[in-house]
Subunit: 128 residues, 2 copies
């Protein structure tokens, strides 16, 4: 059972750049689905510029490119995930699942017992 | 051994508010150390307004307040972490450690083998 109140975000850094994180992993999934970087970005509601920036950062942070573009220039043709891209995406998703599993223990049970479903209203007057 | 390239951020939500996360946990630690909300905020380089906003959100998201202010008004006197605050902070820090431990396995080893130490330079000319 997952807990919607518990969010775990994993980021892998290469120097000061984020080599992999939730947004880049979702973009890889979308490129695999759509076969196009631009179409993947549109599906995720991202600008053209931001989509290509994320792909560029990913391709510079690992030993091999994760996204390969077809001949015809970067704006033409299609795109696909490389074998290395598939490996990295699979390991990243496994890390997400393992950390989420590890969080489902006594500590989360105790925290969930103290957590309200909704916050108390803000700007209350002082009591008394 | 910890890996500086691997960052895990845990957030606990109460409705749309973040009931606990890295910034609020650090603020609780600082309040415990300094005995004052304002001094804790200064130590963390946060504005007075933002510091009090984080405390207000924390105190509205759990069944009991996590931070208690002494008599004399919110700007006078000191502040301390309640017993509930200590419990929640301890469970949150334990969650952080457990998820980090869970991430130190084969998946991270494989990813670390593919990750560059520094990104390749941006704006390369196309090869060929």
């Amino acid at each position: 059972m997952t807990h919607p109140a518990l969010h775990i975000k994993i980021r892998l850094y290469c120097g000061d750049e984020i080599a992999m994180g939730p947004g880049k992993a979702d973009l890889l999934d979308a490129i695999a689905e759509h076969g196009s970087i631009s179409a993947a970005g549109r599906a995720l509601g991202m600008s053209y510029r931001r989509t290509w920036m994320l792909v560029d950062v990913m391709n510079r942070c690992w030993d091999e490119p994760l996204v390969e573009t077809a001949a015809g220039g970067s704006h033409g043709g299609g795109a696909r995930i490389s074998e290395r891209g598939r490996q990295i995406l699979a390991h990243y998703r496994a890390l997400e699942q393992k950390t989420l599993d590890a969080a489902q223990g006594d500590d989360w049970t105790a925290l969930g017992g103290f957590l309200r479903n909704q916050p108390k209203e803000a700007h209350r007057k002082a009591e008394g």
